[in-house]
Amino acid sequence: MNILLLPDLLIILLAASILAIDLYRGKPQSTVSFHMSWIGLLVIFCLLIILPYDQEITYWGTYKVTGISLLFKQVFVLSSLCTVLLSAPYFKPGGNARGVLRYRSEFYFIILLCTFGMFAVVSATGLLTLFIGMELATIPLYILSGYQKEDSLSVEAATKYIIMGSLSTGLLVFGYSFLYGCAGSLSFKAISVFAMASPTDPLFRLGVLFVLAAIGFKLTIFPFHMWAPDVYDGAPTPVTAFISVSSKAVAIGFLLILVYGPLAPLHNYLQIILLILAGATMTVGNLGALKQKRLRRFMAYSSIAQAGYIIMAMAGTAAAAYSSIIYYLFVYAAANYAIFFIISIVGRNGEEEFKSLQGMGKQNPVLAAVLMLTLFSLGGIPPLAGFMGKFLLFAAAAERGFYSMVIFAALNSTISLYYYLLLVKEAYIIKPAIAPRVLVIDNIQRISLVLLTSAMVSLGLIPLFSSNIMAIVQ
């Protein structure tokens, strides 16, 4: 038994204990579970930081912890932590205009469970772990997106999500079956051997495409992105944030593990497909975001586009792809959560729409500045981390000589800047028709925003972090 498995165990323990305490002395208004979860997650995160990143240990032949998987786990834990913090006002009466969420402990339990599923995905050494982890990371999300039971939008979102999700599960399993059929085993090693030996086998490729399509759902790759805007729009805001970051991150981890693991011999073949998908995805995401008026839906399209940039990097070499994508995930998570925190502030007593931002520049300049920085980070404007992140993503594709793709993506990024600027415009330039409401910011939100903003700035300026990632990846 090694310390490397500790985070995974702790997270299950945390989940279980939250549920247990709730069962034991559950009061609807109790905040014990909230404090337990965020403190627990913080502890786990600290633990993740101090773990050694240069070791590689496989447990029971099916669960492998490496530096890279630990990095992914950092993302997941951070994301869960943010979700927990983000969700705090949603369980309080008057914390959100949409209504109060109930079953707080269950909520955190589900989040933690999901996070464990994600841990499993990035630790997988075979298709089985991968499958179970993936499902564990996905099925709870269906529940979460329907968490606002009395809101018909939330339920509709959940319905759409689960039906499309099941279809994707079907495709995933089909894909696995072909991979298994070709390689004769579920372990990555065997698949890798087979791929090396006959990379052009049609059945194998069919399986790969099935898997790709299935993971395309999670990753919101065009044309499998259709659920995302509706689900993001309908689900409760903390859940939307969780889906947009964690679910995406786990899908990316999944794809990275496959593409640079067992499917590495097919990389030349996958490259083109990934690039085409990336191009289409970012374009559709950007176009879709152009005409939005609702913040969560807007974020859905924005994150579709971001997914496009991310998979573009998978055309690059393993080192470049891993380092740039993991770096970008952190950056993206920080920016996304910052936006969602602002949405939650705005949504406390108003619609989560563009209109609600009006007058912020005058009324609450600091918050507006944070919003602007965040949007610029998402748009890839220096010196914020988003710039560095995108730069690394583009560099990964450029390294293999896909310069025209880089131009295309960079131009796409210009389009994205347009709609990010639309938000800036709402916040700063457009004069509100009615007197803007006073925005209440509680301490959790304030502290979180400060931390996230400083992360966005410092990640782009201080090289320590990216160097660490690079060192771990190599």
């Binding site: 770096y327 010196p383 710039f387 730069f391 560099a395 210009t414 800036v424 330039i429 160097s467």
Partner: protein, 503 residues
């Protein structure tokens, strides 16, 4: 003071000013303005010190540096992002020093010119200073990554500066300007990534990259995208359309800074990154760009004739004059390159003066439509005389800086013996007649003629407003009458670039 330290201080200073303004109370306008003013004054002094040190180090004798291999002085580099071998790599050559000097002058004048802004003052000055920091950053960077980074920092604050404090169709103009420039930088980004990988060195270091002989097939496509990418900011035809709308909508100081300095980043990039690193590509594409730029020069001038808004006229004239910057570069001769650089400086001063004056005139007359004005000479002689002089600087009157620059551009461009260069030179020279036509029409209508009743009570410039105008006028005359030291400096800087171009 130690050179690299000085350089770092200079680009950090505006950021520091912005930070220093943060804790100031919102309604304490005076303090915010004073912080900005004093900070930029200090920076100006630092840059003057830098210039003097530079002259000391680099020597003003053109003969001494003909064989010089090191282009940059006060160079310092240290690793920054290990992940892509990104370095904090600074250093300056004469072009950068002069452009920094220009920037410091323009921003100082710009702050004075925007002294009467009273809407969200804090944000305005913070953004303005961030923008300036970006500009300085570009000029001191010897690392393509940081250069690009600062380039973007310089471009983005523009959106809010125009969108919030602008006039007219400001939202549209701000968005168009930002998006077109960022779209241009998409090409730049690709270009520098390509340089990084294709060089085989995995470095963004300008000095190292300049010694690489890139494959012709690579240069063939990389050069145009870099040139066009920077060219967008240099208002190259047909990507100049952000400029009229943007300049027309922007507040005074922003117009000054943008037309005066920011547009020069385009030319600077074309020269420093495009032509310096990819000389063979430059040779392959030059006639194409020459034609494009000639269109710029003529087209801007002709389009300006029919404009009715003072700022539009100046904006189109900027298109035409910035065309001359690139026109000088595309000549691919020593004198042409030098002329382009000189034109950057000259146009920076001139157009800053123009926008400064227009801002002040607009502040009084509340109209920018030329036909509604007239006879201002009677009521505001100081501003009017300055306006006339600015006009003459624009049409290249000797003794003002425009002549020195333009004649260098033309002599340089003619020195390229290709027929197309010759033809384009003649066309470009003829454009100065058109320039004379629209500038004189404008100046005459605005300044001369009978003074209309509604303007009869207007006042001339206050002392505070006279300062920036006087500074800029002084610089225009200084460069026009005694161009020697500037030219010597530019000679030194252009030499290595030219040698690279001719290798």
């Amino acid at each position: 003071m130690n050179g690299p330290f000085l350089l770092t201080t200079i680009w950090i200073m505006p950021f520091a000013i912005a930070l220093a303004s943060l804790p100031v109370r919102h309604d304490n306008h005076r303090l915010i303005k004073m912080i900005s003013l004093v900070g930029n004054l200090i920076n100006f002094i630092l840059i003057v010190v830098l210039t003097l040190q530079f002259i000391d180090v680099a020597g003003a004798d053109p003969a001494a540096t003909t064989s010089s291999s090191s282009l940059f002085h006060f160079a310092y580099k240290t690793s920054w992002f290990k992940i892509m071998n990104i370095e904090y790599n600074i250093g300056v050559d004469a072009i950068s020093v002069l452009m920094m000097l220009l920037t410091s002058i323009v921003i100082f004048c710009g702050i004075l010119a925007s002294w009467n802004i009273n809407k969200q003052v804090k944000e305005f000055f913070i953004l303005l200073n961030v923008l300036v920091a970006g500009v300085y950053g570009v000029f001191v960077s010897l690392d393509l990554f940081t250069l690009f980074l600062f380039y973007e920092i310089a471009v983005l604050p523009m959106y809010l500066l125009i969108g919030l404090w602008g006039t007219g169709r400001k939202k549209y103009a701000a968005m168009k300007l930002t998006l077109m420039l960022v779209a241009g930088s998409a090409f730049i980004l690709t270009g520098i990534l390509a340089l990084y990988f294709e060089s085989g060195l995995s470095t963004f270091d300008l000095n190292l990259l300049s010694q690489v002989r890139f494959a012709d097939s690579f240069q063939y496509w990389a050069f145009p995208i870099i040139f066009l990418g920077f060219g967008v900011l240099g208002a190259i035809f047909p990507f100049h359309t952000w400029s009229p709308d943007g300049h027309a909508s922007a507040p005074t100081a922003v117009s000054m800074l943008h037309a005066g300095v920011l547009m020069k980043l385009g030319g600077y990039g074309c020269l420093r990154v495009g032509m310096y690193l990819l000389p063979e590509g430059a040779h392959m594409w030059m006639s194409f760009f020459l034609v494009l730029v000639t269109i710029n020069v003529l087209y801007g001038a002709f389009a300006a004739i029919r404009q009715t808004d003072l700022k539009y006229i100046t904006a189109y004239s900027s298109v035409s004059h910035c065309g001359l910057v690139l026109f000088g570069f595309t000549a691919m001769t020593f004198t042409g390159l030098k002329g382009g650089v000189l034109q950057m400086i000259s146009h920076g001063l001139m157009t800053a003066l123009f926008f400064c004056l227009i801002g002040m005139i607009y502040g009084r007359t509340h109209t920018r439509t030329v036909s509604e004005m007239g006879g201002l000479m009677k009521v505001m002689p100081f501003l009017s005389v300055a306006f006339v002089i600015a006009g003459f600087a624009g049409l290249g009157l000797p003794s003002l800086s425009g002549f020195v620059a333009e004649v260098n551009v033309f002599v340089g461009s003619f020195a390229n013996p290709a027929t197309i260069n010759r033809v384009c030179t003649v066309l470009a020279i003829l454009s100065i007649v058109v320039t004379a036509v629209y500038l004189l029409r404008t100046v005459n209508t605005v300044v001369n003629g009978p003074v209309s009743q509604k303007f009869a009570m207007l006042s001339d410039a206050a002392t505070l407003e006279k300062i920036p105008v006087t500074i800029l006028l002084f610089c225009l005359f200084g460069m026009g009458i005694l161009p020697g030291w500037i030219i010597n400096l530019v000679n030194n800087a252009v030499n290595p670039i030219f040698n690279n171009l001719m290798r």
